[in-house]
């Protein structure tokens, strides 16, 4: 057995990366690190907005009557904008933030393939977000994030047009970003890193990007038709004039089902990295995890009509039931492989790891209810009820957002050079885990008992469940601020991280924290296996990295005289 290991060599260096300042973030920059932080900040901003809307929704639902909101339409705008903002302006940009910051580093590249395009893609997001929120000046969209016509074309106020334009911009931004990722990952891997030596986060971003390039244009096409119907007098979706209401539903779900994987695959990638690093054990079944991402991406294109089981002609329902259920197999492979990864490891209860484990535990519930929903006869009962609301939040919050939280705790030291506070992190985790479970699990019961979704006025018998849900959701809302406070607090007061606080083997840790402008000094040398923990070579590699870039103590020593004034995170 050849045990030759390539090591980064050189003198002891002090950290020469400059932290990203507020003025960097506010201006135009083509540095992928700055752009990554920009994505993260804007996503967190919209996370707060979307979260506030959710709190209003839960406040309204404390009682069966309409009391907080002036009328049903005002309530409809809440969940429409909540859904849209959370999906298009929080989860997707936040995944893009990690993609932008981490992928070039993990590939040992100096930047993305197209830095200018990267910045351009980011700067499409602020105007899109402004357009979305401007809806409140003209009457915001009130047809749900799915915006089914004719409700969205004939009955929704002008904010619906702004909504459509905004999503158009966000879609364009996604496509440009995805093209950039595909080219970067395909062309810019360093020597010695084949496809199957790539970190799994890169695999996840690759699969996500392929889906974005293929699926987002469907949404763009559909939105174009929607805007034309609203402003130019066409009638693509108006049956009275020769249009078809199912056309939108089909086109929308052509995009939006794959979009579910756009939202969750990056979190899968983060999870693979986090579990392996913090359990100090190689990924169990690397190939199976990588290939199941691709399998999910492919099969994900064939299942969209399960969102339309109650609208579709009966003879078309069964094929989609079969494809939908098949998705359970690659997803199951992933879950069991992750279990295999932590099994027998040396698990550190870091905040990142806790959120990783929380992801596994909550996502499984979403997966189980997902298979149930795939079964047509059962779906006939629970379609468009709180059961579905519960399922999608278990997948998107318990899955994606827990994954993103894990990513924040995992990579924050790399971005800022300082560690997040672990005590606060654990409080954050405990509040989130408990608040999340008791917010969304009772929704299953409400849905099974007969509560439809998207209603402000409901039958009094559902009030008990709703009060429980609302109280838990307020806990969940508060938990977010623990994280935000921690992120601001740690900028100045966090422990100095050093180049590689988690002693990880992927390339982003083989440089100082924060990395210098060109990411690496000299050519980076990838370790032969990104998850090869438990070997002497791995230990030697980690030590060599610390020797080259300095231990946390060295870094703290060298930066003692004048603590850098960091304003951005």
């Amino acid at each position: 057995m050849a045990s030759v290991v390539s090591l980064p060599v050189g003198e002891l260096r002090k950290s020469d990366g400059k932290p990203i300042m507020l003025r960097d973030v506010l201006g135009w920059s083509v540095d992928h690190k700055v752009i990554g932080v920009q994505y993260a900040l804007i996503a967190l901003f919209f996370f707060i907005i979307g979260g506030s809307l959710a709190m209003l929704i839960r406040w309204e639902l404390l009682t069966p009557a309409l009391d907080l909101m002036a009328n049903g339409a005002a309530y409809n705008t809440l969940f429409s904008i909540h859904g849209t903002v959370m999906i298009f302006l929080w989860v997707i940009p936040m995944s893009a933030a990690f993609g932008n910051y981490v992928v070039p580093l993990q590939l040992g590249a100096k930047d993305m393939a197209f830095p200018w395009l990267n910045a351009f893609a980011f700067w499409l997001i602020p105007p899109a977000g402004v357009l979305m929120l401007m809806g409140w000046f003209v009457g915001p969209a009130e047809a749900g994030w799915t915006s089914y016509p004719p409700l969205s074309t004939m009955f929704s106020p002008d904010g619906q047009t702004l909504w459509a334009i905004s999503i158009h911009l966000l879609g364009l931004s996604s496509i440009l970003g995805a093209i950039n990722f595909i080219v970067t990952i395909a062309n810019m891997r360093p020597e010695g890193m084949g496809w199957f030596q790539m970190p799994l986060f890169c695999w996840a971003i690759l699969a996500t990007s392929i889906i974005i390039v293929m699926a987002t244009p469907f949404l763009a096409g559909g939105l174009t038709l929607l805007i034309l119907d609203r402003v130019a007098g066409t009638a693509f979706f108006n049956p009275a004039e020769g249009g078809d209401v199912l056309l939108w539903q089909n086109v929308f779900w052509f995009y939006s089902h794959p979009a579910v994987y756009i939202m969750v695959l990056p979190a899968f990638g983060i999870l693979s990295d986090v579990l392996s690093v913090h359990a100090r054990k190689p990924i169990f079944g690397y190939r199976m995890i990588a290939l199941s991402s691709i399998a999910i991406a492919v099969v994900g294109f064939t299942v969209w009509a399960h969102h339309m089981f109650t609208a579709l002609a009966p003879q078309f329902r069964i094929p989609f039931m079969i494809t939908s259920m098949i998705i359970a197999v690659p997803t199951g492979i992933k879950v069991f492989s992750w279990l295999g990864t932590i099994w027998g490891g040396k698990i550190r209860w870091t905040s990142a790891m806790l959120f990783g484990l929380g992801f596994l535990s909550m996502f499984v519930i979403g997966g189980i209810s997902g298979v149930m929903l795939g079964s047509v006869p059962f779906d006939l009962h629970v379609h468009d009820t709180y059961f579905v609301v519960s399922h999608l939040h278990f997948v998107l919050y318990g899955g994606s957002v827990f994954g993103l939280y894990a990513g924040i705790y995992h990579w924050y030291p790399k971005v800022t050079g300082r560690m997040l506070d672990e005590r606060m992190g654990k409080w954050h985790f405990a509040l989130t885990y408990i608040g999340f479970f008791f917010t969304f699990f009772p929704m299953h019961m409400a849905g099974l008992a007969g509560m439809p979704r998207r209603i402000a006025v409901y039958a009094p018998e559902f009030q008990t469940w709703n009060v429980v849900i609302s109280i838990a959701s307020f806990v969940l809302g508060v938990s977010t601020f623990v994280l935000l406070y921690n992120m601001v607090w740690a900028l100045r007061n966090g422990k100095v991280a050093g180049p590689n606080p988690w002693r990880a083997l992927t390339l982003e840790w083989a440089t100082s924290s924060p990395p210098p402008a060109t990411n690496f000094v000299g050519d980076p040398v990838p370790f032969k296996d990104p998850y090869g923990y438990g070997t002497k070579e791995a230990a030697a590699y980690v030590e060599a990295v610390e020797a080259r870039y300095g231990t946390p103590d060295d870094v703290a020593q060298s930066s003692k005289p004048a603590p850098a004034e960091t304003a951005g995170d």
Partner: protein, 115 residues
Amino acid sequence: MDENKQTHAQSEHAPNDTVHLPGGRSITLPGGIYTFVFVILALLTVFEIIVAELPDGFFTLPLLLLASLLKAVLVVTFYMHLNTDNRIFRLVLLIPVGVMLLSAMWLLAVPPVAW
């Protein structure tokens, strides 16, 4: 300029449509084939128009689709150099075309049978 071209062509490329690409490969630029493809495209268009003008029959639509598919393939293969260029571009083109065709067929299948 014209002289420039002459000397350039004579000095570097003996048959003047062979070009050396970076990376040591060389490629023949088939000017004749480009023109030939254009002629075929034009003929196919005429053929299509004739088919469309004839009274509608069972074969009208398949013939039209076949002809336009052939035209599209010709342009993509020769004008967009998919025949000589990197293979991954074929994949990049074919996957969305396949997805799109399936989706279009689905959209066409829904209305009449449904309700």
